[in-house]
Each structure stands twice: as structure tokens, then as C-alpha cells.
């Protein structure tokens, strides 16, 4: 095994040193004060439990607090700033760094770095810690890793100044990822805000924000009055000819992602397709069942396809722009849920419910402008989403090459 990573900071060339985790840090567990003694609780000392760990890198306030007396009367111990909290059971390997001193319950084996270990450096190696914990844990009711076992973990480390540089690098990278994610959330919020203002509120006939030059009231019509609805079917799987030489796309609920469909999972043969209706490009699909969270899910065909019985198809018509339609349906998805029968294992809506749905829409030209606006917004959001993914992949690649 080589002792140097593939990528390093300039000026560092020494071999990394083989150590055990317990040699360069202290492994500390915790405890729980008696819950039937009020004097132990609601004090000024942070006291963490495993459920709080995993979402944030730095933690500076626990849900529950204990008092000085609670600290004395339990196995909990004060852990210093920079400690890497590490959950040791019921989900081994969640980590966070203490930004303010605190303590934990007994579900942790936390790493208190010594002089030779940098907090963020060891935090960046969460995946290794987790793998080690899961591999070397024991227990029948649930797996748990002991402090003694954790201390034996072999680890290759460079000198402290290189550790600090590596730690600072990943801290900055994590921050950049978090910021790009924040930007993604804000863009999604912006879209939601524009949907709220560019579609009329309940009972209103015009939206708050419109493109210049449009002043007419919006129409309200039932989908069933505008469209001829259609539901497909599932070709008999026991008949092999239905799936031999499958060239016709066949859309199911799982193919819908509330956006244009550019790929679907299954095709069917010409024999099967002849019994179904071939739907044209720009048809909007609505899922009627497949689980409560699937109801009202949409898709927009970008190529001709057939569908199964779980979907209702709205073929393109002159008066409604398809991208406008899918945007409105996505915005109002929660209205389907009130129609879904609620006490069954698999609630559903019916084609009749789709037909009775009241659609709000303006003149076609305004629809096209609105549809184009939201498509553009969707494209930008998609680009931002891709950027976040790329940064996360970047981090993964650098973790592989900057550590040994």
C-alpha cells in the first residue's frame, strides 16, 4: 500500500504515517441522566442524541439540555469544541463537529482530536469511519461499535500542517456545495413564488403578475369539457407476442417525473400496440394511482407512446398549450389528494375525477408566454441541479485521491 495520496498540496512530499485512531485522539462515549429527575434537565449544557446527527456539519445546540447536576450524576462527559461526534449504534457512522462544547448520550463514540489530528481532516474521512464501525461492530439486538474497538482503527495520516491544509480545503468545498444547494433551493422557491402570482388564486379570475398586453379574465373549464380523456391498459404479460420485438414506448406511473418524458422503461410490440391508442407528442399524462404520493404526478410526451391503465392522457388541443397545462397541474397537485379515497391501502382518483378537474387558462398566446417562461425557469433550475451534482461528484473524486 502506497503511503502518499495521488493529489497533494505543493510542498508536501513525506510519506503518511500509519497510526491507530486511539493513538492520535481520545474516544469518548456518553450517558443519560435519570429522566425521572427534573433537576437534571433543561439546563445550560448541550446533550446530543444520535437522531440529531447527520444533516449538519457543525452543531452548536442540542434539542435537549442537561444541568451541571445532571452531568455529575451520569456518565455524560463534556466534550470540547472540535470533537467529531460519531454515532455508534442504531445507525453507525453519522458525524458532526462540535462548534460549542457539549456532551452526548451513550449512543456515541466521539473522537476528541489530540495534537496530531485535525478535526476537519478526520471529519472528511467519515466514510472510512462508518465502514470501519459497521464492519467491526457487534451485537444481536442491534449492531454497536465499542470505544475500545474504535480506538484500534488503523489510519494513515500526514503531519499536522498538511492535515490542516487538507481539512481547510474540504471545509471550503463543503461550504461551496452547501451554497450551491442553497441557490438551488432559492431558485425553486422563486419558481413557486412566480407560480403563486402568475396563476389566479382560488376564486379570482386574473393573476397578480402578467405579461404586458394581456388583460382578459381567465377561463374556467372542466378538463372533461376541453379534452377527450383516455386511459390505456397493460398487455397480457403471459402472451409473449406482446413483448417480442418491442418498439412502441409504453408509459407507466414510474416513468412520470412532472416534466417532459425523454426516456421510458418499457416498450411493447406492434401486436400489443395495435390494441392501444398511440398518443402523439405533447400529450400530457396524469397518474391516477400507484400510491398516495404518485397521485397527480404528470409527464409530457416528447415522442409518440402508449400508456397503461394507471394514467389518464390529455392529447394536445388548440386552446391549451401543453407546457402551460403541465405547469398548472404540477402547481395544483395537492388538489388531487383531497379526492383520493383515504382509508384504503392504495388510494386512487378516477378518470372521472380528472374530467371534473377545473382548469384555469387565459388566451392561447398568453399561455404560450407563461409556458415558455416556466420552461426557461425549469431549464435554469435543472442546470443548477446539475451543478450541485457535479460539485458533489468532485468532492467524491477528491476524497478518493487526496487520502490514502
Amino acid at each position: 500500500m502506497t503511503k502518499q495520496p495521488e493529489i497533494r498540496f505543493d510542498g508536501f512530499s513525506d510519506d503518511w504515517e500509519q497510526r491507530k485512531l486511539g493513538e492520535v485522539s481520545q474516544i469518548m462515549s456518553g450517558g443519560t441522566p435519570s429522566t425521572s429527575t427534573p433537576e437534571f434537565w433543561n439546563g445550560g449544557i448541550d446533550w446530543y442524541s444520535p437522531v440529531e446527527i447527520g444533516d449538519q456539519i457543525f452543531v452548536n445546540g442540542s434539542q435537549k439540555k442537561i444541568t451541571e447536576l445532571g452531568l455529575q450524576k451520569s456518565s455524560a462527559k463534556i466534550l470540547p469544541v472540535g470533537t467529531v461526534l460519531f454515532t455508534s449504534r442504531a445507525g453507525i457512522g453519522n458525524t458532526a463537529i462540535l462548534a460549542k462544547e457539549g456532551c452526548t448520550n451513550q449512543g456515541f463514540q466521539s473522537i476528541v482530536p489530540g495534537d496530531e489530528l485535525d478535526s476537519y481532516f478526520i471529519f472528511s474521512r467519515t466514510n472510512e469511519l462508518k465502514r470501519y464501525g459497521e464492519t467491526n461492530g457487534a451485537g444481536s439486538t442491534f449492531t454497536e461499535i465499542s470505544g475500545k474497538q474504535m480506538a484500534k482503527m488503523p489510519i494513515l495520516i500526514p503531519k499536522m500542517d498538511e492535515q490542516k491544509k487538507i481539512g481547510a480545503f474540504f471545509k471550503t468545498l463543503d461550504h461551496a456545495v452547501a451554497l450551491q444547494n442553497c441557490k438551488l433551493e432559492e431558485m425553486q422557491l422563486y419558481k413557486k413564488a412566480m407560480l403563486q402570482k402568475m396563476f389566479p388564486k382560488n376564486g379570482e379570475k386574473v393573476p397578480e403578475i402578467r405579461f404586458d398586453g394581456f388583460n382578459n379574465d381567465w377561463e374556467q373549464r372542466k378538463i372533461g369539457e376541453l379534452y377527450k380523456t383516455y386511459s390505456g391498459a397493460t398487455p397480457l404479460r403471459s402472451k409473449k407476442e406482446n413483448f417480442i420485438n418491442p418498439t412502441t414506448p409504453w408509459i407507466k406511473t414510474t416513468d412520470l417525473r412532472n416534466m417532459a418524458i425523454i426516456f421510458n422503461e418499457e416498450n411493447i410490440s406492434d401486436i400489443a400496440a395495435n390494441k392501444l391508442k398511440l398518443l402523439p407528442k405533447n400529450t400530457v399524462l396524469i397518474a391516477m394511482y400507484g400510491g398516495f404520493n404518485q397521485i397527480g404526478r404528470t409527464g409530457l410526451l416528447t415522442y409518440s407512446a402508449t400508456i397503461n391503465q394507471a394514467l389518464t392522457a390529455l392529447e394536445p388541443i388548440d386552446d391549451v398549450n401543453s407546457y402551460f397545462l403541465i405547469t398548472e397541474l404540477n402547481y395544483r397537485v395537492n388538489e388531487w389528494k383531497k379526492l383520493a379515497a383515504s382509508s384504503r391501502k392504495d388510494p386512487n382518483i378516477t378518470k372521472k375525477d380528472v374530467e371534473n378537474f377545473i382548469l384555469y387558462y387565459p388566451d392561447l398566446e398568453e399561455q404560450q408566454k407563461i409556458g415558455a417562461f416556466f420552461k426557461s425557469l425549469d431549464d435554469i433550475i435543472d442546470l443548477q441541479n446539475n451543478k450541485v451534482k457535479k460539485l458533489k461528484e468532485m468532492k467524491k473524486a477528491l476524497l478518493q485521491k487526496m487520502f490514502v
Binding site: L173, L179, K192, E335, K338, A341, K401
Partner: protein, 535 residues
């Protein structure tokens, strides 16, 4: 013998429940409830008779031991005995011989001379003394192996339970014991789990249903209440609490399970219902109709039937007057509408019916859809009240109370969605008095309340294809908070600025990185180019 004087209803309930510890280790709740409730009932009858006898002998006492002695002396007097027996019977309709009273039997327990046969004899004497008590104790098997492996152990178990019960004063305040009995039945239902929980409707739901069906009739004499699936009878006994003429209420109930039927009979007696006001039947409500002798129609019909029960659905029922006007029968595997139509058939034109059913009856199609439509067409369905999930012992599904009336002037339906109004408890949810009052007040006012209640016109119901699923009419959906665009813009600008700063910092750090081979160096360069694309 020790006496615990002046127990409150609550401590009495708790003491009775604790008495069950003797049996709890030997059998499950569905089994030991028969022993406990029957012995409590026997003690009640015995104590009541003893105190009455003393009163009649003009030797009033609160001391059961003294009362026992008085009774024994009088019984020993040849001349006095017959007169005393007649006088006691006239008052309480039964007599228990001095040697068979609960008090005497406990004395025998304490002296080590108790025989199970004596208790069995006492049960038989009660059963034979009046039709009101006929077969009342037939479920109590004093010689069951579950009480112990042999007759000696069986004797010990019953003896221990009797000693425990002997410490309780339960004769003076009948209502207090009735409440305690109610508490016990509730605890047994909770303990029984799925199997036996159907015999009891939790008090909050019972109260709500009873208040609704009694609305405006609190002062009516001769009020009649019918429960075709009465279980322990607790549901219809609520009428006693809310009527200002409780002594005149007629109780009509039917129960399929014989054990539960007997429990209901005891419950009636303990709540002080006169024999002439009790009309209970042990039979299958979904078989032949009952009652068929007058009266057959009632002011109130209350029901909490077993949900989605199987029934025969034989074609012959299409000619049964209860079902014939609907053209279809409830399906074999879901008897909900069969129970509903039975109850509705027995409702007076001026009456109100309240039935608890699963939500499925509100929207299931096929035969049930046809029945629902027929009911709606005649304006029979007055109100639909959605209850929280998990408020019953034997099922966690959400349930609904449906209120039906005849000869309504309108065909509208009032919807109340109380499914989010509950108090979270350990294993199930509870309706508090506040929740009940809110539902009741809303029901009375019959006005729209946003996210809670909606008065739907018949046209609206037709538009929904006679589907009564509550969310269609009461929208509890929380509107999204409007987003402030200015705040959002400022936040986005700040984020973009922070991104530029962080990525610049990151880029500068990456310039200091060196790869130890060409391939990795190229990959590193590719990664860095990500950060130069800008936003």
C-alpha cells in the same frame, strides 16, 4: 369483616380493576372479565338485598355483617320468613338465602369452609327468581381449568377474588357502581385487543352520538332508544345521563354474542333500569328482523356495528322489508349497509339515528353505491362526521359517524371533519370534552366553518356522483404561505455573492494542488474548470 367506607367512584373503579390481578395471570381479559364482572354483579345484588331486608325489618344498618345477622335471624323465624321473602321480592324481585349471600360466602372463605358449589347455587337461585335474571350467569364456569389445575386451586382463585371484592362498598350508590362497571368494561375492551374490543364504544364517541340523537328531546317522557348491535349496552345507556326523564326511557337492544348479551343485561340492572324498560334480545341482527312486536320504531337508533363484517347476503333478503326498497343488498363481505338499513328501518319518522362506520361506506361503489344513492335521494343522510383515526380499541382505521333522519325537508348533507381534533395518548387517540362540544355545537348550527365543516347541497352531492368522501367537501388543505419576492431576491443576491467568494477561495486552493501522475493531473484540471464557469 373490614369495610372501606366512602369510596369515590374513581377509587372504586381502580380497586375493582386491581382486583383483576388475581385472574390476570391465569387468562386473558376476554376470559377473566366474565368472572370479575359477574362476581361484582352478584355482590351488588346480594348487598342490595341485605340492606333492603334490614330496612324492611326496621333495623337499618350500613354494616353488611350486621345486615347479614339480621337477615339470618329473620329467616330462622318460621312466621317471619315468608312475609320477609315476599316483601323483599316485591322490592328487588329476588331473594338470596342467608347461607348463599356474598357476605356469608366470604365469611366461609375466611373460615376455610367455602365451597364453589355454594356460589354456583347462589347464581342459580338468582337466575330462577325472575326472568330478568334468566341464564345470566351461564357463562361463568366455576370449574374451569383456567382457574386452576384442580378443584382446590379453582376454589382458591375464586376465594381470593371474593375476599378482594368484599372490601368494597358497592351497594349504596348504584350510579357509582354503574360508572365503575362502565370503567371496568372500558378497561377490558382496551386489554382485549382486536378480538373482544367490539363490544364497547369508547365513552367520548358514545356521548357524542347520544347527545346528537337526544337533541331537543331531553324532556321527553317515554323516550325510546334502540341499539341493534348493543355489545355491553353502554352506548344506549348514555341516554340515561342526558335525559331529564331517565326513569321513563325504554331500552331496546340486540346482541349476537351470548356472553356479551349477559354483560349488557347486568349493565342495565346496575344502571338501575327497571325490568319493564329493558327489551333485550340475544340474536343475529342480520338474520330475522327484531323487534317485530310493537313498538318496532324508535326515537333514537344508536349503533357501532362490527366493520365490514361478513354476512349471508342471501337473495331472500331482497324481500325483507328492511332491504327490499333498495333493490340491492350489501355485499357478502361488507355488511356495513345491512346494519345501517336495519337500524334505519326501525327509526321513527321523528327520530334520529347515529351509526359509526368505516370511511369506505362513504365512497365504495357497486351495490353500496346504489344504496348510498337511494338514501341520499330520499334525503335520509343528514350529517357525516369524520372522526380521528385510532380512537377505537380494536381498529386503527379512521371512522365516521353518520346521522340519518326520515322525512327531512331538505336533501343536503352536512359534513364535519374532526379528524385532526384529538388528544394524543399512548396507544390511541382521545376525544376530549372540548372536541365533543365543538362537534356538537357545529352540528346544531349547521353552518360552514373553514377547514372543518361544510353544508353540501344535494346538487353538489350529485355532482360528486354520490361520493361522500369528506375531503371532497371539507378542504383541510393548508394554503402555501405567500412568498415575499423582495426578501427572496435579496437572499438570492447574497447567496450568489457568497458563491463567488467561496468558489474563488476554492479555486485558489486547488491551484496549490499537485498530482503525482499525468492522468490524475488532467482530471484535476478538469475539476478546476468547473469553478471557472462562474455561477
Amino acid at each position: 369483616m373490614s369495610q372501606v367506607a366512602t369510596t369515590t367512584s374513581k377509587t372504586l373503579s381502580q380497586a375493582l380493576w386491581n382486583s383483576a390481578d388475581i385472574l390476570r395471570s391465569k387468562m386473558d381479559a376476554n376470559e377473566y372479565k366474565t368472572y370479575l364482572l359477574s362476581l361484582v354483579f352478584y355482590k351488588y345484588l346480594s348487598d342490595k338485598m341485605l340492606l333492603k331486608a334490614s330496612e324492611l325489618l326496621e333495623s337499618d344498618t350500613d354494616d353488611l355483617a350486621q345486615a347479614q345477622r339480621n337477615f339470618e335471624e329473620a329467616f330462622a323465624d318460621e312466621e317471619l320468613r315468608d312475609e320477609l321473602i315476599n316483601a323483599v321480592k316485591e322490592d328487588v324481585s329476588y331473594v338470596i338465602e342467608p347461607k348463599l349471600t356474598f357476605t356469608h360466602l366470604v365469611d366461609m372463605v375466611n373460615k376455610g369452609k367455602f365451597q364453589l358449589e355454594d356460589l354456583a347455587q347462589g347464581f342459580r337461585e338468582i337466575e330462577q327468581s325472575s326472568e330478568i335474571f334468566e341464564n345470566l350467569f351461564e357463562d361463568v364456569d366455576l370449574y374451569s381449568k383456567k382457574l386452576g389445575p384442580n378443584s382446590s386451586k379453582q376454589n382458591q382463585t375464586i376465594s381470593a377474588l371474593m375476599k378482594e371484592l368484599a372490601t368494597l362498598d358497592i351497594a349504596h350508590n348504584g350510579d357509582m357502581l354503574g360508572d365503575a362497571y362502565e370503567y371496568l368494561i372500558g378497561e377490558f375492551a382496551a386489554d382485549s385487543g382486536k378480538k373482544a374490543g367490539e363490544f364497547y364504544t369508547p365513552q367520548p364517541v358514545s356521548q357524542l352520538m347520544t347527545k346528537i340523537v337526544m337533541q331537543g328531546k331531553e324532556n321527553q317522557k317515554g323516550f325510546s332508544v334502540y341499539d341493534p348491535t348493543m355489545g355491553s349496552g353502554s352506548l344506549m345507556l348514555n341516554a340515561k345521563k342526558y335525559s331529564n326523564e331517565p326513569g321513563t326511557i325504554g331500552y331496546f337492544g340486540q346482541e349476537l354474542n351470548t356472553s356479551t348479551f349477559n354483560l349488557a343485561r347486568m349493565n342495565m340492572i346496575l344502571h338501575g333500569v327497571d325490568i319493564e324498560n329493558q327489551h333485550l334480545n340475544n340474536a343475529d341482527t342480520l338474520d330475522g328482523d327484531w323487534p317485530t312486536d310493537e313498538p318496532t320504531n324508535f326515537e333514537a337508533v344508536l349503533m357501532n356495528p362490527p366493520y365490514s363484517a361478513k354476512w349471508s347476503a342471501e337473495k331472500g333478503f331482497l324481500d325483507d322489508p328492511r332491504f327490499s326498497s333498495y333493490g340491492v343488498l350489501a355485499p357478502k363481505s361488507k355488511a356495513d349497509f345491512a346494519f345501517l338499513l336495519h337500524g334505519f328501518y326501525h327509526l321513527k319518522d321523528t327520530g334520529t339515528m347515529a351509526i359509526v362506520l368505516p370511511h369506505g361506506v362513504l365512497f365504495r361503489g357497486a351495490a353500496e353505491g346504489k344504496i348510498r344513492q337511494a338514501l341520499l335521494d330520499q334525503g335520509a343522510i343528514d350529517t357525516v362526521i369524520g372522526l380521528p383515526a385510532n380512537i377505537f380499541f380494536n381498529t386503527s382505521i379512521p371512522t365516521t359517524i353518520i346521522i340519518l333522519k326520515k322525512n327531512r325537508s331538505s336533501r343536503d348533507v352536512f359534513f364535519i371533519d374532526a379528524s385532526n381534533d384529538f388528544e394524543k395518548a399512548k396507544t390511541q387517540n382521545n376525544l376530549t370534552p372540548e372536541h365533543i362540544e365543538k362537534i356538537l355545537e357545529t352540528y346544531i348550527k349547521r353552518e360552514n366553518i373553514e377547514k372543518y365543516a361544510h353544508l353540501a347541497s344535494f346538487e353538489e352531492i350529485v355532482e360528486n356522483d354520490f361520493n361522500l368522501n369528506i375531503p371532497r367537501y371539507v378542504d383541510t388543505f393548508e394554503e402555501e404561505e405567500p412568498i415575499n419576492l423582495t426578501e427572496l431576491s435579496n437572499s438570492m443576491r447574497a447567496t450568489n455573492k457568497a458563491i463567488v467568494q467561496a468558489e474563488t477561495e476554492l479555486y485558489d486552493m486547488m491551484k496549490e494542488l499537485t498530482a503525482n501522475n499525468d492522468e490524475t493531473a488532467q482530471q484535476l484540471a478538469d475539476l478546476m474548470s468547473l469553478l471557472q464557469v462562474g455561477e
